[in-house]
């Protein structure tokens, strides 16, 4: 039974390594960006998994059952990991937009997205 709860963590590690593989070994710039996105999703999944508490109540104030609020306020989950994930998603969007617009400019200059052909003049 305890094994099942480890599955998300295995998925996290797998996603991070898949992403690193894509960044390190793929030759296409867009595929590198996809790799970074996969790493980021892995880290976000990790944070979300940390936030899971067995038997916890969703910390939405207006929809929590009133007996939970009255009797066991501690069973409401502290939503810090969710807030962290959200912030990290927002940052991820900004980084993604920046990288894609850089790629657009690079494609305009070189006419290709292959890393081997995109090389600044050596001196």
């Amino acid at each position: 039974m305890t094994m099942i709860f480890n599955i998300p963590f295995i998925a996290v590690v797998a996603m991070i390594f898949i992403g690193l593989y894509a960044v390190l070994f793929k030759r296409n710039l867009v595929k590198m960006v996809i790799g970074i996105s996969i790493i980021e999703s892995g880290v976000n999944l990790f944070l979300i998994t940390l936030g899971y508490r067995e038997g916890g109540v969703v910390p939405i104030f207006t929809s929590a059952p009133s007996e939970v609020v009255k009797n066991a306020p501690g069973s409401m989950v502290l939503p810090v990991p969710q807030a962290l994930t959200l912030t990290s998603i927002v940052i991820g969007v900004a980084v993604l937009a920046l990288m894609l617009s850089l790629i657009m400019h690079i494609y305009e200059h070189y006419g290709t997205l292959d890393v081997r052909k995109i090389r600044g003049p050596e001196e």
Binding site: V23, L50, S88, V95, L102, E123
Partner: protein, 533 residues
């Protein structure tokens, strides 16, 4: 409470908030007039500088300060651990913040004429101010996740600034390289923060430092954090983004990028000395963790020095040479910090003079942060001035500039002497501290440091000879001296360099020693938040 006390109380958030407010007001102000916009940015940064001075005076006299966002006491709502975002300011923070504000003001002053002919300048100023904000945030914050957010802001804005010359291939390459490396580094850091949160249920640095056990996960966290921050600060194996980014961005941007790099270094210091500060001499292992960290950091530092110096010797591009020198200078700082850690670990049974030597190394390393920012910065400003006047950066197509650009030549000479650690300049003071102390740790380190410093001198004498001396090149006959605002910026840096070079004790006694003590004294940082201890 009079107004001065009020300002002192609220200065930590204002130091971050004033540049942030200015950043978003700039696009609106620039609808009026260009000069109004430039003046506005400059004045707001000067106000920030005033706030930095007030805060610095307060912290250096009264000790560590905290500021909790949205609430009064450090521990609102009666919790055992701080849940709100808070700033914690000690002398080390003050040291870095002062460096940053100097860099920021000079950068704005320099870009007044340097960037005049470019378009999209209101966005340029916005992004510069956002970068300054993020550097301040990284330095002031006492919260790990907040640190990550500011780190990411600095990554994004630096990348946008590196790609400022969108029409150039090299700057696009450099920006893409930078954003890939720094976002991977930042994700490492986020993962590490998640691991720490999972174990200790806290994001506050002091709380984590108080609770840390040095378990298996903590070792992974340490590796991830140091790797991520070393990527950001351009230590040897991860240095490849740095020369490209420094050499292909505008000179004013490079000047402030040096500050961003040093903020990454500051983060590394915080991690090693504050979060893991009490675990450096953990006795549960065959040897002290501090010794291992110290040896690794020292090795990487020496590697950085070697790579920086030798690659700088090989290049024929002016800005690339300075950029590789910047790698070498980062190496000097890490060498000093690693030497302190080794000295600390060796001193434990009965060898106190090792700790004394290590402390000197730490002071030298911290002092070198200030000196590196100014020296490398001045050289980049001169490179920008040469580029502004001639539109060339290659050594082969430049020559005889001293005839027409005499002030620039003098400033380059000052920067040259300072970078290679010659006596009347500030680089001498900090490098001497590093040589002396590393000699006691291991003579080889100090010999390598001295030899590489001499080779730096050789590099720059070659540059000086081929750019400023020699026969006049016909195409450069009509070169004019650069505008006054650029000269003023360079003169300001040169004056600070000479002042520090002549009176190094003033800076060491008033800024560097408190900073080194703040780093060494982990307990007081923790007990300010957690209490008791």
């Amino acid at each position: 409470m009079n107004w001065f006390e009020l300002i002192t109380l609220h200065s930590p958030p204002l130091i971050v908030a004033v540049p942030l407010l200015t950043a978003f007001l700039t696009p609106l102000v620039s609808k009026i007039n260009e000069i109004v916009r430039n003046l506005f940015v400059l004045i707001m940064l000067c106000i920030t500088g005033l706030l930095v001075l007030i805060l610095g005076y307060d912290v250096l006299t009264n000790g560590i300060r905290t500021y909790v966002f949205g609430g009064g006491a450090p521990l609102p709502s009666g919790m055992n651990i701080p849940v709100r975002i808070m700033f914690e300011i000690d002398s080390m923070t003050i040291f870095m913040v002062i460096i940053t504000i100097i860099l920021a003001i000079i950068c704005i002053l320099y870009s007044w004429s340097f960037m005049k002919d470019q378009d999209g300048l209101d966005k340029y100023y916005t992004i510069i101010l956002l970068l300054v904000t993020s550097i301040f945030g990284m330095e002031l914050t006492g919260d790990l996740f907040n640190f990550f957010v500011f780190l990411e802001i600095s990554c994004i804005t630096s990348c946008a600034l590196i790609a400022f010359y969108v029409h150039k291939k090299e700057s696009l390459d450099a920006a893409f390289k930078y954003i890939v490396i720094s976002s991977i580094g930042a994700l490492f850091i986020l993962f590490a923060i998640g691991l720490l949160y999972a174990q200790y249920n806290a994001l506050n640095m002091a709380t984590i430092a108080n609770a840390i056990q040095f378990t298996f996960f903590d070792k992974i966290v340490l590796v991830l954090l140091v790797t991520g921050l070393a990527m950001k600060s351009g230590l040897a194996p991860m240095h490849m983004w740095l020369p490209d980014a420094y050499s292909s961005s505008p000179a004013s941007v490079t000047f402030i990028l040096v500050g961003a790099t040093l903020a990454g270094l500051y983060g590394g210091l915080r991690v090693i000395f504050t979060i893991y500060g009490n675990q450096l001499l953990n006795t549960g292992f065959t040897f002290y963790p501090g010794l291992l960290i110290g040896i690794i950091i020292t090795t990487l530092g020496v590697l950085s020095i070697f790579i920086g110096v030798f690659m700088a010797l090989k290049r024929s591009d002016f800005k690339k040479m300075i950029a590789y020198t910047a790698v070498a200078e980062i190496g000097y700082m890490f060498l000093a910090i690693g030497s302190y850690l080794i000295g600390l670990a060796l001193s434990v049974p009965d060898n106190p003079q090792m700790l004394v030597a290590g402390t000197y190394a730490l002071k030298g390393g911290l002092f070198h942060i200030l000196n590196d920012a100014l020296d490398i910065g001045l050289l980049f400003l001169v490179a920008g001035a040469v580029y502004y006047a001639t539109k060339q950066t290659s050594l082969n197509s430049l020559g005889g500039l001293a005839r027409n650009m005499k002030y620039t030549t003098i400033f380059f000479l000052i920067g040259l002497l300072a970078v290679s650690g010659m006596p009347p300049m500030n680089g001498f003071a900090s490098k001497l501290l590093i040589y002396q102390s590393t000699y006691q740790i291991s003579p080889i380190l100090s010999i390598i440091a001295i030899i590489c410093s001499i080779m730096l001198l050789a590099v720059f004498v070659k540059v000086f000879q081929s750019i400023f001396l020699g026969p006049e090149i016909p195409s450069l006959k009509n070169v004019k001296e650069v505008p006054k605002s650029m000269l003023a910026a360079m003169a300001l840096v040169a004056c600070i360099i000479i002042f520090i070079g002549l009176f190094p004790n003033i800076i060491i006694d008033n800024l560097v020693t408190p900073a080194a003590e703040a780093l060494q004294n982990t307990t007081s940082y923790i007990s300010t938040i957690v209490g008791g201890a």
